[in-house]
Amino acid sequence: MLARKLPLILHNLPWSVSSRAGSDLARRHYDVIVVGGGHAGTEAAAAAARVGAETLLITQKIATIGALSCNPSLGGVGKGHLVRELDALDGLCGRAGDWAGVHFSILNRSKGPAVWGPRAQLDRERYRQFIQSELLSTPRLTVLEGSVEELLVSQSNPNEPGHHRVTGICLVNGSQPILSSSVVLTTGTFLSGSLFMGQTTTPGGRIGDAPSCSGLSHTLRETLGLRVGRLKTGTPPRIVKESVELSLVQIQTPDKEPTPFSFLNTHTHCKPEEQLPCYLTHTTPGVERVVRESLHLNCHIQQDSKGPRYCPSIESRVLRFPGRQHQVWLEPEGLTSDLLYPQGLTMTMPPDLQLRLLREIPALHRAEIRTPGYGVHYDFVCPTQLNPSLQVKSTQGLFLAGQINGTTGYEEAAAQGLWAGVNAARAALSLPLLALCRTQSYIGVLIDDLVGRGVTEPYRMFTSRAEFRTSLRPDNADIRLTPRGFEEVGCVSLRRYKEAVRVRDSLQEGLAALKSVTLSSTRWREKLGNISLSESRNGSLNGLDLLQYKDVSFEMLAAIFPEHLSPYLEFSQRLNIEAVYRPHCEKQSREIERVQEEESLSLPPDMDYLSLPTSLSSEVRELLDRVRPNTLGAATRIPGMTPAAIVHLLHYVLRTAQRNQHTGQRVKAACKP
């Protein structure tokens, strides 16, 4: 009994865990083991514990949990959407951003609320502290310092699809294996990672950290037979702030009123006036010259693995678009940090040349480098081998999240981490696995793109990837996701749920109140003064109609009808947005319903497409066999599918479903509104 209870005590005493790590007091069987303490791993561990699983987070160094390995910022266009959605599902990163942010701004402010990009520069230290204290005070979560030697697998459970089943992990120097029902791997760039700087190559996934064991990579490839690919990324040198000529750069000030990421927060930890600025400068022809002269000394750039097109190194930018000025942002690393992060100057040439390059920029002409930039090559597992639950199709209980799936970016990693954690916990607790639909969230778009289409370059979120962008806005992520997160998924706290329900109901009432206030257009003009209402509209207009006009705001209407509208002033911005977007969302809703219907029909994961007794062409069969879509909807999005093939598939599935009405599906598509 003592052994069972002890961990519960331990996680309330944060730092004692690491000191006891590996001792025999640690329990030897968990529901979920999460490997890796980056953005994916921390969200996964926290989510699994929230769902109710006894969870163990294993990381090489407890001190680097929550470390921002690259840029000191969170959010942005598309990425900000993900942060809001993570927060709506009670994830960590939104609140951590509010705690650690030192420079908040909403990008795209002038381009419409659907594409607003909440973003913040972060204090690295504060971010790490927040994530660590959250994790270490999460019930049911134990943190262990160690390096995973091997993934333990056994025969699969014959009642479920898959060839193997995960049973736990083995630590380096661990005398005994640690057993679990599910394992989430979030090893980032550490899977066969190698670091590049100039002509030197060293094994590893991040500078200053030991490389992961090759055992894990071996198990994935050899034992489980997973297809892997290779990608590359990089990070810029860090510059000593004092050495920068700040008189030669443009100053970029933050929003006067910081907007928090989290729906739970009304303000950020950093006071508005305490925020730090960012600086903007540009490359010069000299920068291009140094790049060209150093090419022969640059191993990273000569490798032909795929790097991102949108976060390229300065080398590839210069080579692809020569003769141009490129932007360089100098970003603060924190309130007390003496470093600046030069966004846009990722480079992998030898350190002396990095310094030469920097000094070609006027503001950096006497710059000092604290740590040089470097490149990373790493393996990723082709994500088409995963289910939308992020479970590996062939291996029961094994989940992957983050860069290991071929994505780039903190937010993309965190989003997958949360979802993998949720499902790892559900699998361990014998609950049906869940999928998020692309009609309802950017997280759904991200996962659907990954498992449905795979990646050819590091995948990053853009708003243009979401076909229902007008409905999936950062402002309404709570209404879209929080109620479901509580009612169906089980990863949302009661407190957050109650708040989201209150907001949802108030917005509905507010919209109804707006509809109820009507006046003739002449009367509206009298009341509102200089408003140009379209002359063609005779008859009466209601408050919702009025909000379609750019110059009219909810506050103005509330001043005219205080008794009807003032109760909803708290939500004036959201009501403004809802009123403008509603007609467009309604137009999309039928299409959304159609997609959701298709998503609700799952295709058996073990379907033998090659010998399916229905008339499908061999081309389509091979396509289906390779991609193995999870739902009919996913099948329709495979490039090369024909409508006729879909109908044949539908027919077959319905017939089979009728036959086995009682054998329930394991992956349930959670798409119902």
Partner: protein, 517 residues
Amino acid sequence: MLLSTPWRLWRSAISTLKSLRPAPVRHLSIPTDAVCDADTIFALSSGHGRCGVAVVRVSGPASSMVLRNMTGLTQTLPPPRTALLRRITDPHTKELLDRGLVLWFPGPHSFTGEDSAEFHVHGGPAVITAVLQGLGSLKGVRPAEAGEFTRRAFHAGKLGLTEVEGLGDLIHAETEAQRRQALRQMDGELGHLYQDWSSRLKRCLAHVEAFIDFSEDELIEDGVLNQVDSSVHRLQTEIERHLGDERRGERLRNGVQVVIAGATNAGKSSLLNTLCQRPAAIVSPIPGTTRDVVEASLDIGGFPVLLSDTAGLRDGLDSVEREGVRRARQRVEQADLTLVVVDSTQLPTEPKQAPTFLQGYLSIVLPQPSGGNPEEGREATSDRVLLVLNKSDLVPEAQKERTERELRESLGLPPACFLSCHTTTGLGDFLAVLQSRVKTLCGNPLSGAPSLTQARHRAHLQQSVQALSQYHQYRNHDLALAAEGVRLALTHIGRITGRVGAEEILDIVFRDFCIGK
């Protein structure tokens, strides 16, 4: 009742389906991209050949409105499922289009389960075109997509599981027929015009998307949006002008498209001349005489046929001939029926080897089925191909007879006819086979009617123009909604020229801009 044969067949097929016990079907939609079930759709349900009566079907919530607007029945609708003789008029100009029968099928007691209507009009192309265009001009009414009527029936639970299997084949056939019809229309000036609009719209969308996703951090000049403004404006004007142009561009190629194809010097041009009963094409013993496509309009058994003679398929010696071969292959791809001409003297003297020889010959002449399923491909081939074994006068009679028997017994080969263009021996038999094949093709409501394809294109262009005005409406205060307008416009043009995915747009973004963050 004035019902044409194919229509009777169709109706009896439907009633058979209806009489089947409805199986418990979950209500599922079957995917087409962005088709909205609340739209009211119409289609020509009878064939597009010369027939006494053409049937136009309408289905969807606006069916009663359509019926009222087209027939002047302002107050009352006709009694359900009863034919009524009415004047059918253009809904806007009230010009008389035809006198014909109208029927009203209120839902759920209709094939699709929705409110439906039928117009039985005279079968001339002018009348059909006018009726289809009248329908297309009504708000919320659009031409049906491939298989859409049946799909709606399925959706409404009117089809059981056993019928779904057939539905797949039906949609396949309709998609194929529409694809061929669309290819014909796209092959030419009109096609280039649509392609050009599509690629310009793609660029516009990519540039707006780049501005949305990257302009905060990257050097994307504001000038980009100004360029998009003027591009969108120009596109709008061009499409509107095109829609308003009464000449409608090119003449539609009406009739069954029959293409003569085969190796050089097999006698393809001789066959054309024999069928035309005039020397329309130059014939000579020199291989490669025909270089371009030679066309002739014919009347075969009362059906309009457009016969095309093509260059012999071989690796051409000069660029002119190579181009001729390319065009020949393109024609075969678009054909309703291909006459594959074989030089009989090249047949193996051992008749048992003839089927294998011809199988190989066909695989060279015909495009490989895109499906890749050999079964499916063979089936499709035998429907759409006739083998003409020309120069039969040069083959010994005994070999001919034994080969004929061999071919009749071998499975998977299209029908073959021995024929001598020189002596006209066998011409009568061949014409009989050809005529019955043309008749089937013409009477098949599935083969894409040019006027319907045209109506569909117009509908998409109209919606595209409408969507573009949303761009201007929101350009200055909500770029996301403005971009939605361009995206919608592109979706509609994409229904004509092919779908455009998010990745394709991103490719343009990364090609045109240095996105460095």
